[in-house]
Symmetry: C2
Subunit: 108 residues, 2 copies
């Protein structure tokens, strides 16, 4: 079973980054109960005061898709929407490394 | 003490991605012994067959800088250089979330 990863870049409306980060941190806290969510890290970046990057890893792609339909997720999105100017994402296929459990650290 | 994160994008020379990934996986295996390296995940991306993204989190920025001077790291870089067409990185300040231990999950 392949993991699914994503870097999600949130551009907050000016001055709204920290409030948006609080909502994402609450979403991360809610994800503590979701076993298939392996990583959900909120990051600031020095290069842009309005940007947040969220690093996500899920045990499978379908688990990420399912999370978007959960009531708690939908409520968080509703609260976050007015704070957000834009979202971009980079979908990833995590293949191995340190910090998560991989069934097989070789590529084949 | 603040963590330090990075998304590092490696563009491999054509056809060299998997060999480069093997070297990065070996680097991740070597990092198992480095306590301050909390995350070092190698990712493929469906959007470009020559791209690798590495997700890194270190317990502090200086630990990342120090890792680059280690003999094992320098040897891996030497082996990887001929396979690499380009590297870009996005430095990050991880502030909280699921999957790593944060001293304080609030922002202030």
């Amino acid at each position: 079973m392949s993991k699914f990863g994503m870097y999600a870049k949130f551009t907050a409306k000016p001055g709204q980054r920290d409030e948006l980060a609080e909502i994402l941190l609450e979403a991360a806290a809610a994800a503590e109960a979701v076993e298939e969510c392996e990583l959900y890290i909120i990051n600031f970046t020095d290069s842009d005061p309005d940007t947040l990057w969220v690093t996500e890893v899920w045990s499978r792609k379908e688990a990420h898709a399912a999370s978007l339909t959960r009531e708690a997720t939908r409520a968080a999105i509703q609260r976050a929407m007015p704070l957000i100017a834009g979202v971009e994402s980079i979908p990833l296929n995590p293949v191995g490394g340190k910090g998560l459990s991989f069934a097989d650290a070789t590529l084949l």
